[in-house]
Symmetry: C2
Subunit: 339 residues, 2 copies
Amino acid sequence: MPTIRDVARTLNLSITTVSRALDGYGDVSKETRQRVIETAQAMGYVPNRAARQLRRQRTDTIGYIVPAEKPQFADPFFAEFVAGLGDEAASTNYDLLVSTAPPDSPEEQDLYRRWIQGGKVDGVIINRTRLSDWRVNFLRESKLPFTCLERSLDQGEEFLGVETDIKDGYQELLGHLTAQGHSRIAFIGADASLKVQYDRLRAFQQALTSLDIQPQANLIVEGDLTPEGGYQAMLRLLALDQPPTAVVCVNDLTAIGVIHAAHDNHCVIGRDLAIAGFDGVADSAHTQPPLTTLDQPVYAIARTLARLLLQAIAREKIVQRVITIKPTLLIRASSGGKR
Amino acid sequence: MPTIRDVARTLNLSITTVSRALDGYGDVSKETRQRVIETAQAMGYVPNRAARQLRRQRTDTIGYIVPAEKPQFADPFFAEFVAGLGDEAASTNYDLLVSTAPPDSPEEQDLYRRWIQGGKVDGVIINRTRLSDWRVNFLRESKLPFTCLERSLDQGEEFLGVETDIKDGYQELLGHLTAQGHSRIAFIGADASLKVQYDRLRAFQQALTSLDIQPQANLIVEGDLTPEGGYQAMLRLLALDQPPTAVVCVNDLTAIGVIHAAHDNHCVIGRDLAIAGFDGVADSAHTQPPLTTLDQPVYAIARTLARLLLQAIAREKIVQRVITIKPTLLIRASSGGKR
DNA sequence: TGAGTTTTCCAAAACGTTTTGGTAAAATCA
DNA sequence: TGATTTTACCAAAACGTTTTGGAAAACTCA
């Protein structure tokens, strides 16, 4: 593995000149630069990352820790999210470090500590933000750039990231459902400490009341963002005296479990029961029947988060600190909309 | 951010002693070690990774480049795979670097070059191995430890990784299908340069002939491992004079597309048409009807690959260089098996 | 011509660790 | 007691870059 020293030696130049030639500084002549670039290429010289990092005091790496309850559980949301982060990072020659840790666990704290205090990453992206989130406080204290999807309640002006404005989306979705004649509409949510749960449940309830439907407490149940959670929650709803005729789920994965439960209980989805999700992950188009959902461009959101982060790291002027995205309603067969 | 120098200064000790105390060397007294550990902890000292890497000449990081044709495409297989790698890495305090690049593209070459020559990773994992794969040659030349899922044809004895033995699996699957009365059985595969396609198609054909069914060329079509590819391939099969009554797919995602196409063409899956997949990704349990598939434990395989790699990096003696896994047949409703 | 300016290069310091090759002091032994 | 071993520590080198602060050579201009 040739070092910059080897390149310098073969060219009879100083290390400095080689370094500056490769970095495109103005104080090296056209010809030498050319020679340097060629020989470096020919010798297969690639700068050692650790040395560069140590000197430059940055790592050209951003980090993301998947907040997965159970590690082996593969959420398509995360897959798209990670792909977006990775691609945006790669487009600027940055790398993406990935790990998983259960939310609010000691492992999570440990990982963040190691990465951040040890200078392993220049910045991080967080999602599944909690209403009150130690991560944002920790990151703020350590003065490390970070962006997040969904603002925690601790964050005021300094928030940098993406927020989804779901009011109109839920309004539209519930309009659609009531137009189909539904009025007993349930909501399957997630852990109450999550910002998405907070936002989406509230938007759901507001939309409901604006349509003159009284929200009913027993139609609001808790899942855990997985198909299994959705399945179990649906069973609980079906056991009610008056089960709902429509179910709105906090995410698509939950809805997939609900579809499954409905099938197992011989409901005809789209006729007996309307089901809607949230996210618009690729899978949702391939459920049977295809899932009505509030589609948000996860991949694009991830790229945006990464781009914002990279700008923050580079101390670029950021025109728009918080980017708001509105999900779009995709009406598919699961809500009896189209066939 | 305190450095080791700061810790040494506050303790009136040398840098050396602090370093050795923290690393657990024997030549530092019990009491000093205790003092060092405590103050380091109290000061929030975390060793700088870049410096450590530079000195130790290793990065405590392994890499994986997702071989994704289109970046925004989120394959649940990859999600599980990455989760497995990440968890195994984390269990040894290693980190996982992730990126995506289209197979056999210049970006792919660039990434591997940067990571490996630049010493950004201590080893890599590769999958979606091609029959002849420049990556294995490149890695072999650069003498970097690596493990792979599926052995390319270039690899002889030195192969280190996981292979799936699918003969029995296909035998069993096709036995199941013929027992249901099927004899016109199609295969939807992938790019011919992929090792999995090579293996699985061959196993499929062998199983077929062993059951006294003549493989028919027009029942073997090519997909691209995505639902869309599966959908299109299925349309082509349905357009035949004599469409197949059963379809075996090279992976679950393809099968999901096939299910979709069958639905759109009003075939009743499980009755008119049997469908089977391969992989056993979480999604496959939630299709409608649930998908019959050859289940391989993707998460566990990924962990195994990572563990092997870490052992290779640590130059441990590796007892078993190639670990063979047999998929198990999961019979579900999509093949008319159970209800 | 000689003073200033520009061009092109370079030596040395720094980044924060780990490791090598010690050395005093204390403990052990004859 | 003096020689030897063990214990507990440390100074300095090294890892491979980037950057600082020049400095010689070439050019410009009066």
